[in-house]
Amino acid sequence: MQNLINILIKTIFVENVIFAFFLGMCSFLAVSKKIKTAFGLGLAVVFVMLLTTPLNYLILRYMLQEGALSWIHPSLASVDLTFLSFILFISTIAGAVQLVEMVVEKFMPGLYNSLGIFLPLITVNCSILGASLFMQEREYNFAETTAFSLGAGIGFFLAIVLLAAIRERLRYSNIPAPLQGLGIAMIITALMGLAFLSFSGIQL
């Protein structure tokens, strides 16, 4: 249990998906102009991440890894299909996002309207696929994978809402013209990254 909490805190603060790995920067920069939309996107990312990463773990564990197919027939035990992981992971994510979109539209129209166009866009958010690939590389078990995906989602949520809050204030400041927009957003993200570095002193 303590191990899981450690992973959760570590992925939110110390190894934040945005500030330490730059995953999902595209939507991070594009959708952080208003707090409200940033909040919606962040929420959607947490949700999809928490759904797809454990799902991909199951696919990896019971279909792709060496020996994973032995539950079908013992003679399949030596089959190693991990080279297919990219294609299967991205298909799972695309499919899951589509499914989530349909379910949310049918049963929670309020939430659907507030998330709007962000749901389908999440398919190509690097942080989602990144979480699945990190899960594969670090060889987490199922509980750890769940904690990790929750942490990564919350980390993204935290980062995008913080940046949106800062950018709303920026409208009143006097920035050199060539630096406006993307340039200053980059530099602010860097400064936030420096601030988040202070968390790396935490002993876990």
């Binding site: 500030f19 790995f21 060539p178 860097a190």
Partner: protein
């Protein structure tokens, strides 16, 4: 994701012309600077930052992205008339994922140490917005050859940013380029120290921010593009 700038190029159909006509050269050259995928179109920032601690992995990564972008553009452009519009995203993802798997396997076979360093970022080429962005904005409406050139151009434009950032980070951060020491020993003896900040993730963001600043103050048309 501001792909509009170059989408205008995509609307006009080309007539019969040479393989390297003026217009095709422009398709190849524009993404290097004026419509650079990273700094102007804001595509593919994700991986542009993470693999730039040293020049060598950055170069390999740039090469991988160029190959994937060029060939996915080519393939999608070849089959563009037979892809149903509603499922085009899935088709694109599968084509891209297939190409990335090939790149990943080649790297694992021939350049294992670099492949270890790049870790998940090779796989993340799939969701690299440059690839999808160019497929959507260019390859779906253009003939195969211009699409191929567009892919190469955008891959190289991405590569330029990667190599510039990696060069500065490696030079200032560990005093070397391509793993070869370039800062002489007497400088260290005089009290010069490597800048540890350059090895940390935020340095990449600072450098790209400064690059954008420099690019936009040189080319005023780009100001307020986003």
């Amino acid at each position: 994701m501001s792909t509009e700038t170059s989408a205008s190029l995509a609307t006009q159909e080309t007539k019969k012309e040479g393989l390297l006509s003026k217009k095709n050269i422009q398709i190849l050259r524009d993404p290097l600077d004026d419509t650079n995928p990273v700094t102007v179109q804001i595509l593919g920032v994700c991986s542009a930052l993470a693999v730039t601690v040293q020049v060598k992995p950055a170069l390999i990564m740039a090469l991988g992205v160029t190959v994937v972008t060029a060939f996915s553009n080519l393939i999608i452009s070849l089959i563009r008339n037979s892809i149903p519009n509603r499922i085009r995203i899935i088709v694109q993802l599968i084509v891209v994922a297939m190409l990335v798997t090939i790149v990943d396997q080649v790297l694992k076979a021939y350049l294992f140490d670099v492949s270890k360093k790049l870790s998940v970022f090779v796989g993340l080429i799939i969701t690299n917005c440059i690839v999808m962005g160019r497929l959507e904005a260019f390859a779906l409406a253009q003939k195969p050859w211009p699409s191929f050139l567009d892919g190469i151009g955008n891959g190289l434009g991405y590569g330029i940013i990667l190599v510039v950032v990696a060069f500065v980070r490696e030079l200032l951060g560990s005093g070397s380029v391509f793993g070869i020491k370039v800062v002489p020993q007497w400088l260290y003896d005089m009290g010069y120290v490597n800048n540890g900040l350059m090895m940390l993730p935020p340095a990449a963001l600072f450098l790209i921010g400064i690059y954008i600043w420099w690019q936009r103050s040189r080319n005023k048309n780009l100001i307020n593009a986003s």
